[in-house]
Structures are given as structure tokens and as C-alpha cells.
Symmetry: C2
Subunit: 257 residues, 2 copies
Amino acid sequence: MATGRTHRPATRSRGIPEATVARLPLYLRALTALSERSVPTVSSEELAAAAGVNSAKLRKDFSYLGSYGTRGVGYDVEYLVYQISRELGLTQDWPVVIVGIGNLGAALANYGGFASRGFRVAALIDADPAMAGKPVAGMPVQHTDELEKIIEENGVSIGVIATPAGAAQQVSERLIAAGVTSILNFAPTVLQVPEGVDVRKVDLSIELQILAFHEQRKAGDAEAAAAALLPPAARRAAEAAANRKGPDGDVPAVMPA
Amino acid sequence: MATGRTHRPATRSRGIPEATVARLPLYLRALTALSERSVPTVSSEELAAAAGVNSAKLRKDFSYLGSYGTRGVGYDVEYLVYQISRELGLTQDWPVVIVGIGNLGAALANYGGFASRGFRVAALIDADPAMAGKPVAGMPVQHTDELEKIIEENGVSIGVIATPAGAAQQVSERLIAAGVTSILNFAPTVLQVPEGVDVRKVDLSIELQILAFHEQRKAGDAEAAAAALLPPAARRAAEAAANRKGPDGDVPAVMPA
DNA sequence: CCATCTTTGTGCACGCGTTCACAAAGACAT
DNA sequence: ATGTCTTTGTGAACGCGTGCACAAAGATGG
């Protein structure tokens, strides 16, 4: 997957382990799909398969919420949907602001996943005066000057940062000063935030690098294992590596982020 | 942060812990910034601060790569940049295909973070015939029919899925059949993949839900602290009642993803 | 060459998360 | 009622990751 957690100092929130919280949305999605198909109950085994986790883990996760299952039968889908939604705080409306309406910010504004599940885009904010007033996802972009006013008037507590890396820290500081206490950061920077503010980061570049590491390992293993018996993918990867550009192989092909 | 890992069965790759691998790109970014400012050496303390981690953790991470530091001095920035790049496999070129050129796919295609660090967008692929040939990020979109050919001709081993949820599983199967062994999945679905294929997922909706959980907890804590010390059961009942929106309070306010 | 000072590298202990395996609980049939 | 069968809920063991704290290593100055 593509993100890591930030600043969660092992503070188990209300007795529910952080790892469990991170999986609840996964369960919720699977349960919602079952609910749409009018499936009344589901066993831990089935649901675990749908969510891609171990069934024992799922049962233990649910046990933190309470005993909502029936032995010999399974879990009531509708009831569980409600319980998880409530636990995650999705029974209320969360106004969200998106700061930085470039390619990514615009894509986020158009993303359906925001609108569903209780998240409402309260405003789109950009520092470029030329963007002000332009409609994106059926909503006029507002200038950064309005940031504090928007947050206070709408009671926004969650902010999404989709600005360039250079602006992210400053934006986060303004968001926090205005009352935001949770930030989803798409900018490739480590945000420095005060105690009590939650930051989660989504970093495409980092995810790719992690994949590259494993990819390289696979290729290397395959190579070392046998020159013969190469699986097709590894063989092609090796070829691609051999096709490397330029004979000057000693300078790392790394560029600034 | 905004991602979770998938299907990493505690298989410590080449002796480097997965948690360390996930941090290497972070260090690399901080080091690259130092390198641009022509800083020759850096201590574990300084670098850890820049990367937002504990200095002991950083030193232990580096110790898995080898002993690249000098006691009393610190780490040589350029050398470390090279070593980490090599370890992550960034000294070679990784051709990548992006499947699903909607808002998000287009944003990804335009994202600078791909072009840098050895990742090269080899092709943009979409199932919509109307998209075929249209230029996105200076590159013509190709139709899904060409998927297998593109992957094989370019030796692509990393695929990015930015399609709607419904198409993701099928796309992943085609990618894998054609030789892709690492997938970065932006679609809100759990991909079912065979052994040996790495999947990382980026799920905006899940990240927001996790933030909402903590946000609710903060609000709840403040409330509970302010109000008289109600027993947990009573408090949860009160919350449930307060959280009901509208008069039709028995239907959970959750929508399909 | 020796003393001092800085900073690395790591042994160790602790806590979280995962998984196994099983007893308890309930449904269902007879 | 009673027995059987299914599935939950959880005790316990294990392994990974984290962070402390310190000894070893080297630089630097006299």
C-alpha cells in the first residue's frame, strides 16, 4: 500500500489498537458491498477473505468494538455496518478543505470517495489568484487569503494538502492555527506539527520506491538462483536493466524530489 | 499517512526489515535536499530530525545497509545517497504504465515525482476508445487492447492502477499475466493477486476515515472531560443519539464506496 | 602520543500486533 | 430436551519494531 503513519506515539485510542482502526474502513467497505446485495449475515471467514485479512485477526478486531457476532451464525451485516460507522465517526458530517488545486487537488475534488461516507468538500483553496473563482468539480476555487475565514465559518477540522512540497509546511501551519487538527498530506515533505495534530501522508514517490526495492530483489534473486529457469517477468526485468541508458554507470540516477 | 501495506507475509527481504525499507525513501529525500545545499556530512541526529524519526532508529536502519558512518563525524551525504539509491534499485530505470486515465490517472501522469528517481512513464492506458490518442502529459493515451503488447515490449514490471473499483481486479489480472509483478493500486478494492506479486495500495477514503476516527475521539474526549464523568455505556448511548442525523435515525448514514 | 570529545553501532528490554488453537456459545435437528 | 455442528471470542506464544543507554571508534587539540 501507499502510506505510512505519522506521529502516532503508541497512544492506543480508547482501547482500540491503531492497527485495528486502520482496518475498520476495509471491513466497512466489504460489509457495505454485502449490504447492497442484501446479504443478512456473514461469517468471519467470508468477511476476512473479502477484506484480504486473516479471520482470527478480524474477529479480534471486532472484539475490541464489542461482541457483535452470534456463534454458529456469524455477524449481522447491517448492524456491523452501523457499529463500525459509528466507531469511525462516519455518522456525522465532516467538512474538509482541499488546499492546492493543481492536477492532484482537482482530481481529489472530483473523487467520489470524498463525497460518500460523510466527508463533504467545504472549499477548494489555491494560492494562485488566477485560479480564484474558477469552477473545479462544480465549486469555485477560493484564494488562500480566505483560508482562515473558511475554516472557522465551516467548522473544518480536517484539511487536505495537495500543494507543492515547498508550500506544505506553511499551509499546514495556517490550517492548524485556524483550528484544523487532522491533516492528510499529499506533498512530499515531512510536516512538523504540534502535539495533538494528526497527520497522515500519502506519498506516491515513496510507494514506488518501495515497490522498486522488492522488484529489484526479485530480479536479483532470480538471477542468483539460476541463469536457467528464469520466470518470464524476471527475465524481462533483467533485460530492461541491461538496456540501461548510457555506459556511465557509476553516477546514481537520482534526481531531486 | 495514507497507505497500508498488503500481502507482505513478514518475509524479511534480504535481511532488511520491511519497516526500514519503508523509511529509506524518506532518508533519501532528506539527503538529496542536503546534497543540493552541498552539505558534506550529516549526523544521525540532524538527519533524523529532517526525516521526522528517532535518531537511534535511523542509525539502526543504516546499520542494516552496512557501516557507512564515521564516529565522531557523521555520515557522508553523497555516499549515503548513492548507497540508499542502489539499495532501493533507483540506479536503474523503471518503466511504469498507468492504467485508467481519469482525473486521478491524469494527475499521476503529470506528477513530477514519477519522472524523477528513475521512474519513467512508459504508457498511459485507458479502456475508453474516445480517450485513445488524446495527449495527456505530452503522451498519447493508448487503448486497453494494447496493454499486453506495451508491457512486453517495454519490459514493464510496475503497474499503476487508477481505474474505477469495478475494473481494478480484471486490470490487475491482465497486468500480471503480461508480466507485471508490482502494482500500485489507487482503486478502492482489495486486489486478489498470486504469490510473488507485490501490491501496495493508496486509498484516500480509508485515510480520511482513519483521521475521522481520531478526530471524533479528540472531540469525544474533550466533551467527556467537560461533562460530568458519565460511565462509558451511558456516554456511548448519548453519542449515538446525538450522532443521528435527521428524524429517520435508524438508518446508518453510510453510502456505497 | 595522549586526553578529550563527539557520534556511531548495537545489546537489551519492552510493547504492539499477529496467529494458533481451543473452549464457550448458540443454532438447529431430532 | 439433548446432541451435534458451526462459528465466535480469546488466552497464550511468538516475532517484529522501537527506543534506551552505553561501549567502541575515531576525530581533534595540545
